[in-house]
């Protein structure tokens, strides 16, 4: 694949458009959280990080990927469709009698594990990573968490165990958009100092701008070559609704429908017409 940041940026933008189209047709969807993590997912899938293809998806030594914040599934769906895991007609009939719903399940080609209830993914990936160690396999396990998801106690149970077991083949990426359904994480129940919490749990912590493709690439490559014996967490500072100005940093765009009027405004922005909004 082409490790070119502008290619990845264009790819990611095309996915934002596809997400908008799909949610409009589906009637509703989790657009805010999908837009906050789509740049991360694009880099993971298209920059030789995950190396997951429909041909190697059943291989024992494939890298594992789990979207633990399962409500952002649409961000993964548009990528899996683009990679040929399933036909685009499935996106067209999302939430309407096809294989795709609001949360990912393992019957969907390319989805590793059921997700949707928060707080499970890090533990499951801890199991993936432990299994790799037991079998002397060198695959890595990647999991994307929401920052609001980190209120779940199981995240910290898994964080403790993963560092205790020196699972340096485990990479968690926290989509730190700072917003839950009802507002800012720091006003609801503060997570900060967030990096320090992970550090104190024995993790290798890297903070990065989750929308800066070049920095994300650099970060993932650093991890790939790292000699750490710790699991790594990337705190990806992101913006909920990123890419559409009137959705950005507004928790009301966590979930909902897209009217024709909203669609027209959003699509203009995503197509690079800055005269709107």
């Amino acid at each position: 694949m082409i490790l070119n940041t502008s290619f990845l940026e264009e790819k990611s933008n095309s996915f934002r458009i596809k997400i908008l189209d799909t949610i409009r047709k589906a009637g509703k969807g989790h657009i805010g959280g999908a837009y906050s993590c789509i740049d991360i997912l694009t880099v993971l899938y298209y920059a030789n990080i995950l190396n997951i293809t429909k041909n190697n998806f059943k291989d024992n030594n494939r890298n594992r990927f789990l979207l633990s914040k399962g409500h952002a599934a649409i961000a993964q769906y548009v990528i899996l469709q683009d990679l040929g895991f399933f036909d685009k007609k499935e996106l067209e009939r999302m939430n309407n009698g096809g294989i795709l719903g609001e949360h990912p399940d393992h019957n969907i080609p390319g989805i590793e594990f059921d997700s949707g209830s928060l707080g499970h993914g890090l533990s499951i990936c801890c199991g993936f990573a432990l299994s790799a160690k037991l079998d002397n396999l060198d695959y890595k396990s990647y999991v994307v968490l929401g920052d609001g998801e980190c209120y779940e106690g199981t995240i910290w149970e898994a964080a403790l165990l993963s560092s205790h077991l020196n699972l340096n083949n485990l990479v968690a990426i926290v989509d730190r958009n700072g917003l839950c359904i009802h507002g800012e994480t720091e006003k609801i129940n503060k997570l900060n100092p967030f990096s320090e919490k992970w550090e104190s749990f024995g993790w290798n912590v890297i903070e990065v701008d989750g929308h800066n493709i070049a920095k994300l690439l650099e970060t993932f490559n650093t991890i790939e070559n790292s000699k750490t014996n710790k699991p790594t967490v990337i705190i990806a500072n992101t913006i909920k609704g990123k890419g559409v100005s009137f959705m950005e940093n507004d928790h009301k765009w966590h979930h909902g429908g897209i009217s024709d009027e909203i669609y027209d405004l959003a699509i203009k922005e995503l197509n690079g017409d800055n005269s709107v909004g």
Binding site: S117, H120, S123, I124, C125
Partner: protein, 310 residues
């Protein structure tokens, strides 16, 4: 396995696991800091296949799910309330949803932990587990079926819940019993049959020694029930009694009643279980059984009143 000497049922179960872990590197045992004598020998002899994850049962079950998704056959062990009800969602989504080969081994059936209060007493664990899709539920009766059930855990794929207990119950089974049956007709009667599960099967046997013409069937797999056999056994029997050390709600009694109704089995029906409220009374298991009127004498009284009223 040594079969001449009665073994603690926990150790019997771990004897079964010991046999399979010895043969298969893919078997992994996780515990949430809960122990048993034989388990410590598994830890000693197979350290790479054993992990104490600390007191974090929900995490343990999802970690087990991850391991199983990668091809491992996993046993997870803790007190039964903590791996059943505390972790209900992890079991439901990560094990049942994914249909993974994970064996939940919970110790503390019924009033096993009689002085530890409702936090430790397994009154609703089987009931809660029975609601989950694709999960098989087993309740051990003695050391032999405990041992054999551990091996079912290895042989049969999919998620399972084993409700075991500590201590030594009188032996009912022998190694030749076909453990796939899910039940065992210990004694027969066309007049009255007690369908019981777990520890209460021993009480049922005592009751059958005190009242004439009572047969006893031990149901050690409460989900899925061996419906055909149960229907065959119950057809033509005048009185059917269910007996369990757990709540009525969601209990074996409800399952059997439904099964009998569905199959037009015409009989008198007496469910005996534990009322739906937490137990804040402390004593040995016998004292608690007396308190809740599920001891031999109280059950005999209930049955006599029941029969006289028919």
């Amino acid at each position: 396995m040594e079969i001449t000497v009665l073994v603690d049922m926990r150790d019997a179960f771990f004897n079964g696991i010991y046999d399979v872990i010895e043969e298969d590197k893919n078997v992994v045992v996780l515990t949430a800091d809960h122990g048993a004598f034989r388990l410590s020998e598994i830890e000693r002899d197979f350290p790479e296949q054993f992990l104490n994850v600390g007191i974090a049962e929900q995490n343990m079950i999802s970690v087990a799910a991850g391991l199983a998704q990668c091809g491992k056959i996993v046993y997870v062990y803790s007190i039964n309330n903590f791996i059943s009800m505390r972790s209900l969602e992890q079991v439901n989504i990560d094990l049942c949803g994914m249909n993974l080969h994970v064996n939940l081994v919970g110790v503390g059936a019924g009033f096993t932990y009689s002085t530890d209060g409702p936090t430790h007493q397994g009154m609703q664990d089987m009931q809660a587990m029975s609601t989950l899709p694709g999960l098989s539920v087993y309740n051990v009766t003695d050391d032999i079926n405990s041992y054999k059930l551990a091996k079912i855990g290895y042989r049969q794929p999919g998620p399972k819940y084993f409700r075991i207990e500590k201590g030594k119950n009188e032996r009912i089974y022998n190694l030749n019993h076909n453990i796939s049956d899910g039940l065992y007709k210990i004694s027969d009667s066309n007049e009255t049959l007690i369908l019981s599960t777990g520890y209460m099967t021993h009480t049922a046997i005592n009751v059958s020694k005190k009242i004439d013409n009572i047969g006893v069937v031990d149901i050690y797999r409460t989900k899925p029930l061996n419906e055909k056999k149960i229907v065959d056994i119950c057809r033509g029997v005048k009185n059917i009694i269910t007996l369990e050390e757990g709540t009525y709600s969601g209990g074996l009694c409800e399952k059997i009643a439904l099964l009998l109704l569905k199959n037009n089995i015409n009989c008198n029906f007496l469910p005996i279980a534990v009322e739906d409220k937490p137990c804040y009374y402390y004593g040995n298991r016998q004292m608690l059984h007396e308190k809740y009127k599920i001891d031999t004498d109280n059950i005999c009284k209930k049955i006599k009143i029941f029969m006289e009223s028919r």
